[in-house]
Amino acid sequence: MARILVADDSETILLLLRTRLEMERHEVATATDGQEVIDKVDASSPPDILLLDAMMPCKSGIDALRELRAAGIETPVLIVSAHTEGGNGADHADLAINGYVSKPIDFDQLFAKIAELTNG
């Protein structure tokens, strides 16, 4: 079981992710944009994993991650992207991204990645 903060600007997709992750007995918190992600990450007890949509209005997942990393938060992160490659093809090597998940989501693959990050 892991504590996961999930961010996506679509309520439907948040509902889908929450349902599937809770069925796998994870504890899920949600956010609908990058600012909410920053607000919800408590530096003293950050979540085990961040699952961030790369493209969200106002503040994207990438922008939020950049701020969190600058604040010294090293929580593992998976970027969910509508494109088959993450973050518009850019690598963001400086942001220590642990993996990319493309939409539509292959849940078996997602669960495997989460297991890998929480066990390692």
């Binding site: 679509s10 439907t12 997709i13 889908l16 349902t19 599937r20 069925m23 493209m55 509508a82 494109h83 088959t84 490659e85 093809g89 939409k103 539509p104 989501i105 849940f107």
Partner: protein
């Protein structure tokens, strides 16, 4: 009747007489020409002597002065012309050289190429015409680039916007099937239809997106060291259900100890799945499909083989081109965009590899991929 006979006889006599006189005339003319006609020959000799004498007199008395004048004029004229030409050439050469140079640069894609206007009015006109043309070319190229960017941007945005609802549809349909025990068989079947069609839509969307990326030079790969065997088995596993659904046999022959290769796992799997999907869809029920892989020097060779209907020769040479499809009847049944193989080719080439096909109508098809174990330093952007 008698009248007619006489008329004919008279006419015959007349014609004979005419022919005889004509023959005489020809003989006389020939003699004259050869100078053998006695009277004519004499006359000709006398006439020539007279003419020569007359000509000599004329030249000596009048023309000598004129010739001198003409000669002097000619020399002066030539000198002037030479001077004028030297001036002309030097004032034309520079602008013309500039034009040649600028044309070369323009043809080479340097749309900033312009010439300095100067020299004679003709070369100046030529120069400004060239500059106007270059200006127009640059303006149009700018418009085209902007349209291209807008198109790429549109495809990327549309793909993103379509992907979110598709993610929901596919995700919730899968969620329903996870609770299959609560569904009636009819309901479960309905959800499966929704899922199948959603996956098909996603495939179309991915093809269009790859095509747009390829056009924009943004089709990229993320290579990593990966076991070739696992990669092939992975693709085959993805396809197993679809092959079973058509009762097709799949045989897998992978050489033991196939090496690691430098490859983008997702992209190579995409290519293999594309080849297997084609085999699955174009081959009849119960067909035999095989995947063979072995090492060939510094490359790994992967064959996808089927014993299906084969590809006619005239189609075979075009199958890796965009929108190339099987014949109309097949196409209607199979669906797809006709982009799969074109994208597969681009992806394999990004890995520094090759893809080709062999087929005999009625005798099945073989698609062969060759992937280098290490991607060469510089692979041209596709």
């Amino acid at each position: 009747m008698i009248g007619v006979a006489r008329f004919l006889q008279q006419r015959q006599d007349y014609e004979n007489a005419t022919a005889r006189s004509y023959q005489r005339e020809i003989v006389a003319r020939n003699r004259l020409a050869q100078g053998t006609h006695p009277t004519a020959a004499r006359a000709a000799v006398i006439s020539q002597q007279h003419q020569r004498q007359a000509l000599r007199d004329e030249i000596s008395s009048e023309t000598r002065d004129t010739a001198l004048l003409v000669g002097a004029g000619l020399i002066a004229g030539l000198t002037g012309a030479a001077l004028l030409f030297t001036g002309l050439i030097s004032s034309m050469r520079r602008p013309l050289e500039d034009l040649v140079d600028a044309s070369g640069r323009l043809a080479g894609g340097d749309l900033d190429a312009r010439v300095k206007i100067g020299g004679l009015s003709e070369t100046a006109t030529l120069g400004s015409a060239f500059n106007e043309m270059a200006e127009e070319l640059q303006r149009r190229a700018g418009e085209r680039d902007q349209l291209d960017r807008m198109k790429d941007e549109f495809v990327l945005t549309a793909s993103h916007e379509l992907r979110s609802p598709l993610t929901s549809v596919q995700g919730f349909a899968e969620l329903l099937l996870l609770e299959r025990e609560n569904l009636s068989p009819k309901q479960a079947e309905t959800v499966e239809v929704i899922l199948d069609n959603t996956r098909h839509l996603v495939r179309l969307l991915n093809d269009l997106l790859d095509l747009a990326r390829s056009d924009a030079g943004r089709l990229t790969i993320r290579p990593e060291q990966t076991g070739a065997t696992g990669l092939i088995e992975d693709a085959v596993r993805t396809m197993r259900a679809q092959l079973d659904a058509r009762g097709q046999q799949l045989s897998l022959e992978i050489e033991p100890d196939l090496p690691q290769i430098e490859a983008d796992r997702d992209r190579i799997r995409q290519v293999l799945v594309n080849l297997l999907t084609n085999a699955n869809e174009y081959c009849p029920q119960g067909a035999n499909i095989g995947v063979k892989a072995h090492r060939a020097g510094a490359e790994v060779e992967i064959d996808v083989i089927d014993d299906g209907p084969g590809i006619p020769e005239q189609q075979l040479e075009h199958i890796f081109e965009r929108f190339s499809r099987g014949d109309a009847g097949e196409t209607q049944r199979v669906g797809g965009t006709g982009l799969g193989l074109a994208i597969s080719k681009s992806l394999i080439e990004l890995h520094g590899g090759t893809i080709g096909a062999e087929s005999t109508p009625g005798g099945g098809s073989t698609f062969r991929i060759r992937l280098p174990m290490v991607i060469p330093e510089r692979v041209e952007a596709i």
